[in-house]
């Protein structure tokens, strides 16, 4: 599954990037915290396909489907943060 499939209130560990993702952007995502081995939680998932909010450590980023669907993650687990809608 990809980061975009992650449900609100759940988290998962980044496994890899889809090969089509440009290497410079791969580096930037890594610097922001989206690197293999890091746990990412989805804190907000609005409807209508709007960008979702992801928490990495103490920062929150908004990613749209064009990039979140290029980050492959492992099994999702439930988290405490951002479970309300």
């Amino acid at each position: 599954m990809t980061l975009w499939d992650l449900k609100q209130g759940t988290s998962a560990t980044v496994q890899s990037f889809v090969s089509s993702l440009e290497s410079s952007y791969r580096t930037r995502l890594s610097e922001l915290g989206f690197h293999p081995g890091e746990s990412i939680s989805c804190v907000l998932s609005p409807s209508l396909g709007a960008p979702k909010l992801y928490r990495v450590n103490n920062s929150v980023y908004s990613l749209d489907d064009s990039v979140a669907s290029l980050i492959e993650v492992g099994t999702q687990v439930s988290t405490q943060v951002g479970t309300g809608k």
Partner: protein, 611 residues
């Protein structure tokens, strides 16, 4: 003169710190990437030292052209013998991210043999939430001085200024890996340092998430966005109105006091028509520019704008843009120039190019005097619910929406038909924490923007007003405006504006407004001043009402001014940013033609409906 470099991640509070240290008034916002030029200012405490504020960077390894410019400039500054110290600003509420960059800066400074200080900013936020971090141990671990500061409250700044000129010790490289990549050591080290010495707990992030759940909610988020935008435009009228009345009343009092003291004739006529009629008519609108800049600044400072960018991303994508285009577009509501500069934060070159197409159509504050004048002349000033809703405010909202819709339609059309710079970058936007706005810098920024507006536009308006007055007053000493030199010239251009119901006076005002839009008001004020003689100093809106301008022509003027690119400065800055005259020329010609055609169509439709 020694120089101190200020560098840090985007939105780490560098610009506010720079303003505090130098007393300058650089634009500050709670949005990643707002500093787009390198600003310099003398230290308040030690004037022999100069601070240089560099654009925020996530990394010393760049992925876009703008980042490369900033990072190259940083390395050039590191090689400059005058550079005495580097101050790396780190937001302690998001320590790990700041440290990833800081560790890279430590290595760069070690390599270039420059002393480094880490400014641990926003400690006031930690104090507010009874949180703390171990500065002493962090300093020991990094091997460079770490000074706890709050750019907002001013704490720790004295110590920082003193250390900036006295600190001589060179740092040692912290990590052998200068580039943070997937498995990088630097990333793990930053994470470990943040875990060991950073603030503990999720309090801040949880508070931010609660607010995000509301402001980005599928329904409440959209609704609150619309309400906030509506209040923004309504505030331009309701908050600024008393001050505008005050300015108008003062000008009238001054005219009543000064004019009788002057000998009748040319001097008195010039003072009444050109100074009070022309320039005075323009000064009345300055309070609105102040309020607009203040409210947009409040939204930026609160952190809401980044949320607005997220809300707008999906709809803007339909028009070929991105949520990041929202910030330059909203900045353009104050003025297109900062909007064009802010478009540098749109990292995708194609989306930035499309944003440039939309910016000149955003309803900038130079259009505001024209809109206000025409709305005051044609829309009744009826208010409801204590001034919360009023017809004039609604009309202003409508004309603003019209400009924005025009901008979006243009970008949609161009993005569908033009494949210029097709390769693209995905959407990743950092959500800054919510903050209560800092009033002092906001008020200072609004004041300096208004002052800039008066002094910059004022010069052009004064020159145009004098020329227009001379041409309109002679050769018959203002006895008959129609027979003046200007009147004769006006008859030649009248046919061009007759299709939308305007006489030659409006034609002359439109032509002069191609220098800058607000000149329209000054020119019209001067012309009506000459025509009206000295018997009455009445508001320009009343003059327009009395002139019998058809309602269709009023709407046609509104539409014309919403579309036409009448701003020499916008064209010059676009040329600078795009590197050629191609885009500014294309936009000027196409928006002029579009404005003319749309104004004519509006006149025909409104006149048909109005009967």
């Amino acid at each position: 003169m020694s120089k101190t470099i200020l560098i840090g991640s985007p939105n780490s509070g560098k610009s506010l710190l720079f303003n505090r240290l130098t007393g300058l008034n650089q634009k500050v916002a709670n949005f990643p990437g707002i500093t787009v030029n390198i600003n310099a200012g003398k230290s308040l405490a030690h004037p022999s030292n100069e601070f240089l504020d560099f654009p925020g960077a996530y990394s010393l390894q760049t992925i876009s052209g703008e980042e490369k410019v900033a990072v190259d400039a940083f390395y050039t500054a590191l090689n400059d013998p005058e550079t005495s110290t580097v101050v790396c600003v780190v937001d302690v509420t998001r320590l790990e991210k700041g440290l990833i960059f800081a560790l890279q800066v430590i290595n760069a400074c070690a390599e270039h043999k420059k002393p480094l200080i880490i400014a641990a900013n926003m400690v006031d936020v930690l104090e507010q939430h009874s949180m703390n971090m171990d500065i002493v141990k962090l300093e020991k671990a990094l091997g460079v001085p770490v000074i706890a500061v709050s750019a907002k409250s001013g704490s720790g700044l004295e110590q920082l200024q003193d250390r900036a000129i006295n600190h001589q010790q060179l740092p040692s490289a912290y990590s052998s890996d200068i580039i943070a990549s997937d498995e990088s050591l630097i990333h793990r080290q930053a994470q470990q340092l943040a875990t060991d010495f950073g603030p503990k707990g999720d309090l801040l992030i949880n508070a931010q998430t609660k607010l995000d759940e509301f402001f980005l909610h599928s329904w409440f988020g959209g609704l609150s966005f619309l309400v906030i935008m509506y209040l923004l435009f309504q505030s331009i009228f309701t908050w600024a109105a008393p001050v505008m009345d005050g300015v108008e009343g003062t000008l009238q009092l001054m005219a009543e006091f000064i004019l009788p003291l002057l000998p009748a004739g040319v001097v008195s006529d010039f003072t009444a028509d050109a100074l009070f009629g022309g320039i005075g008519a323009f000064l009345v609108f300055v309070p609105q520019i102040f309020v607009l800049t203040l409210v947009v600044g409040m939204l930026e400072d609160s952190g809401y704008l980044a949320r607005a960018a997220v809300i707008c991303h999906k709809p803007l994508r339909l028009f070929g843009l991105t949520g990041k285009s929202f910030i330059p577009m909203l900045s353009s509501v104050a003025c297109a120039i900062p909007g064009i500069y802010a478009a540098r934060t749109v990292d995708s070159p194609r989306k930035r190019w499309l944003t440039y197409l939309a910016i000149p159509l955003m309803p900038c504050s130079a259009r505001l005097p024209v809109y206000s004048l025409l709305i005051a002349a044609f829309i009744p000033a009826t208010n409801m619910f204590g001034g919360l809703i009023g017809w004039q405010g609604l009309a202003m909202f409508g004309i603003y929406v019209f400009g924005i819709v025009c901008g979006l339609l243009v970008t949609a059309l161009v993005s569908k038909t033009n494949k210029h710079m097709q390769s693209d970058l995905p959407f990743v936007l950092e959500m800054p924490p919510y903050r209560l706005p800092s009033w002092r810098p906001l008020l200072r920024n609004a004041w300096s923007r208004s002052k800039h507006f008066v002094t910059k536009a004022g010069k052009v308006i004064f020159l145009v007003t004098v020329v227009i007055w001379l041409l309109g007053y002679f050769p018959n000493q203002g006895a008959d405006l129609g027979a003046s030199w200007l009147g004769v010239m006006g008859q030649w251009i009248e046919p061009a504006f007759a299709p939308f119901g305007l006489d030659w006076k409006y034609g002359v005002a439109i032509l002069t407004s191609f220098l800058a839009r607000e000149v329209f008001v000054g020119t019209l004020g001067t012309l009506f001043g000459i025509e009206g003689g000295e018997e009455n100093i009445i508001s320009l809106a009343e003059h327009i009402q009395n002139s019998g301008l058809p309602v269709g022509a009023g709407f046609a003027l509104l539409v014309f001014f919403s579309i036409a690119l009448q701003c020499v400065s916008t064209l010059a800055v676009l040329r600078k940013e795009t590197g050629s005259w191609r885009l500014p020329t294309q936009l000027f010609v196409s928006y002029s033609i579009l404005a003319y055609a749309a104004a004519w169509l509006t006149f025909v439709i409104v006149q048909a409906v109005a009967g």
